[in-house]
């Protein structure tokens, strides 16, 4: 009985959420809010992909913004110089970011915790320096301008209201497939590596191979986010892809609870929307991220297991529903 009501509840919640998400651009919200909504989707992709390596597999990366940047620049350059179609740019951006992630991971995944963080931090710095100094290709600090908007089925997705659907489609598709993957043997193997590498090896998990693969996949998804960002902003410069951005993404993952995909999504929503919505807040954005990181660790508010917010919220709502049902019974009895 309980299981059945749970399933119905889930379906209902899913339908409501889908309706809200699909109809959001039709509600006549301002351009500002819709732009923010697109950013939220992009950051959800970044946070969930970093959560895959850092939360699920337990490998702290401090260079996630670099793969975001590689995706953005590859996509922008391909569409500017070769005038390729948006979808091809997107796919190649994912491939480029994935391959660079793979190349970084090959040496880096032989290293443990802190070393890996340093190497990824260093890699982020290298990418930033290259973007800034390879002026012939990237125009350096001036950035790339005039990136074309995507055109699909003869429609140009330029306004935030229409681009929202592109972001929505790609993010939801990626998230669903990603969820499948994490829920399967591959995800379990990574969690096993996070919890105890020795025992994981004894159970036949090829630790090095799985870690490298996870890092490459996570980088490829950051590349998709980069491509979505470039074709939405229509202008990119290196300052968006600095180390601070990597830390911001890591804060989202930590706030959402390491390893929890739903948590990452919720945290990306909150941490992307809040600084934009509160005026004068952006000055303190990084400070607050830093405080969040430390506070989450110290208060042990992070749930290392997977009792994510969603589950707890759901339990809470269920309790309310049960209470209402009981009340109803009470009323009926009273009426009888």
């Amino acid at each position: 009985m309980k299981i059945k009501s749970n399933r119905i509840f889930r379906k209902l919640l899913f339908c409501i959420m889908a309706c809200v998400l699909i109809s959001l651009p039709l509600l006549g919200l301002s351009n500002f809010v819709m732009r923010l909504a697109v950013f939220v989707w992009i950051y959800i992709l970044l946070a969930t992909s970093l959560n895959f390596t850092s939360g699920v597999a337990g490998q702290v990366s401090l260079g996630h913004a670099a793969f975001f940047g590689i995706g953005a620049y590859v996509s922008a350059l391909l569409s500017l110089k070769l005038e390729l179609h948006f979808l091809i740019c997107l796919a190649l951006a994912a491939a480029a970011a994935g391959v660079s992630g793979w190349l970084v991971a090959l040496p880096a995944m032989r290293l443990s915790g802190g070393y890996l963080a340093i190497v990824t931090l260093g890699f982020g710095q290298i990418v930033y320096i290259v973007l800034l100094n390879w002026i012939d290709l990237t125009r350096g600090p001036m950035g790339l301008v005039g990136i074309p908007s995507p055109v699909l089925f003869g429609i140009e997705f330029r306004k935030p209201q229409s681009y929202y659907y592109i972001a929505l489609f790609f993010c939801v598709a990626v998230l669903l497939l990603f969820k499948n993957y994490i829920g399967s043997r591959a995800g379990r193997n990574l969690m096993a590596i996070r919890d105890d590498e020795t025992a994981a090896a004894a159970m036949g998990v090829d630790i090095y191979k799985e870690k490298v693969k996870a890092f490459a996949i996570s980088s490829a998804i950051a590349g998709i986010a980069g491509s979505l960002y470039a074709h939405f902003m229509l202008f990119i410069d290196p300052s968006k892809f600095v180390g601070d951005e990597s830390t911001a993404i890591l804060s989202m993952v930590v706030l959402g609870g390491l390893g929890s995909m739903k948590g990452s999504i919720a945290a990306a929503l909150v941490l992307t929307a809040l600084p934009e919505l509160l005026r004068g807040f952006s000055r303190y954005r990084m400070l607050i991220y830093g405080i969040l990181l430390v506070a989450m660790m110290i208060t042990k508010a992070v749930d290392w297991s997977r009792y994510s917010w969603y589950d707890r919220m759901q339990q809470w709502i269920q309790r309310v529903v049960q209470a209402i049902n009981r009340k109803k019974g009470g009323w009926k009895n009273g009426a009888a």
């Binding site: 963080a117 931090l121 800034l132 601070d244 400070l287 991220y289 430390v294 660790m297 042990k300 992070v302």
Partner: protein
């Protein structure tokens, strides 16, 4: 030839400054097996304190220097007490401590940013423009002071660790944390001492760097932090001699890249060296491989 020797002189000066910061990383890693990301920000705060004390509080050079070193030392102790000790006492995984130090680093950086802004500020140096000439090579007084003070500090520190009681307690803790505690060593105070020394020396290093370049800005933490860390790993983390060796190599790589290839990619050299070393010898040049316990 003159150009070459000039570069050697700057590389040695830079390398000895790097070594001071690198030792902080190495000491903390030795005791806690933790990479302390906040070390770079502590370094930056030390450099800024001197700026604040000399320019805003208008103190003379030497008291300002000593005071900023002392305050930074205590800052390091406070950082450990607030952001790391609770995790250690609760047996949280290393992962949590790592993230905590990353967070601390960002907090310190942004407090400094909010207080001082992001502009590059002029830095008071000790002997502006004074130098001696050896043949055709010019060596500034500042460079001489840097190398002399760094060498002195490194020697006295290694003597302290080898000979003194506190140093012995430190080594014991580094060898085996739990056993040291059982033998009646107060591990908490050893760790506090480690953070104090590491941070104080980082402040000295930060002040020297800024005196050398005669300017300070809030990004020095990130760039110097990464390079000195590269130096630490290169030499073999947890090994003081390694920290010095690695620092010199990184400094040479950086100075010569800037001099002979391109100034704008000088920071790249350090990371390229780091990646190569990690590929070939993950434990660094002087580090020992660790046998994994099953």
């Amino acid at each position: 030839m003159q150009f070459f020797t000039q570069q050697v002189v700057s590389a040695i000066a830079l390398g000895s400054v790097y070594a001071l910061t690198a030792i902080g990383y190495s000491m903390v890693f030795g005791v806690l097996e933790l990479i302390n990301f906040s070390h770079a920000s502590v370094f930056m705060v030390g450099a800024f304190l001197y700026y604040i004390l000399t320019n805003i509080a208008a103190l003379p050079g030497l008291p300002a220097f000593l005071l900023s070193v002392l305050i930074t030392g205590f800052l390091g102790v406070a950082v450990e007490k607030i952001t790391l000790r609770p995790l250690r006492l609760n047996n949280q995984p290393k992962f949590a401590s790592l993230i905590s130090t990353i967070g601390t680093s960002i907090i310190l950086q942004n407090i400094m940013f909010l207080l001082m802004g992001s502009e590059t500020l002029p830095y008071q140096t000790l002997f502006p423009g004074q130098s001696i000439s050896l043949g055709e090579t010019r060596i500034s007084y500042m460079q001489i002071v840097i190398v002399a003070v760094s060498t002195m500090l490194l020697v006295s520190l290694s003597l302290f660790i080898k000979k003194s009681r506190a140093g012995m307690a430190m080594r014991a803790t580094a060898q085996n944390y739990d056993a040291a505690e059982l033998m009646g060593i107060s591990v908490d105070s050893v760790i506090s001492l480690t953070f104090f020394i590491g941070s104080a020396i980082a402040a000295i290093s930060g002040i020297f760097v800024c005196m050398n370049y005669q300017s300070v800005d809030i990004t020095i933490g990130t760039s110097f932090g990464l390079k000195t860390f590269a130096a630490t790993v290169l030499g073999g983390i947890g090994n003081l001699g390694g920290a010095v060796l690695g620092s010199l190599i990184i400094a040479f790589a950086e100075v010569f890249t800037a001099a002979y290839i391109n100034t704008s990619i000088r920071d790249l050299a350090a990371f390229v060296v780091l990646v190569i070393v990690l590929l070939v010898r993950p434990n660094g040049l002087l580090g020992k491989p660790v046998q994994k316990k099953v």
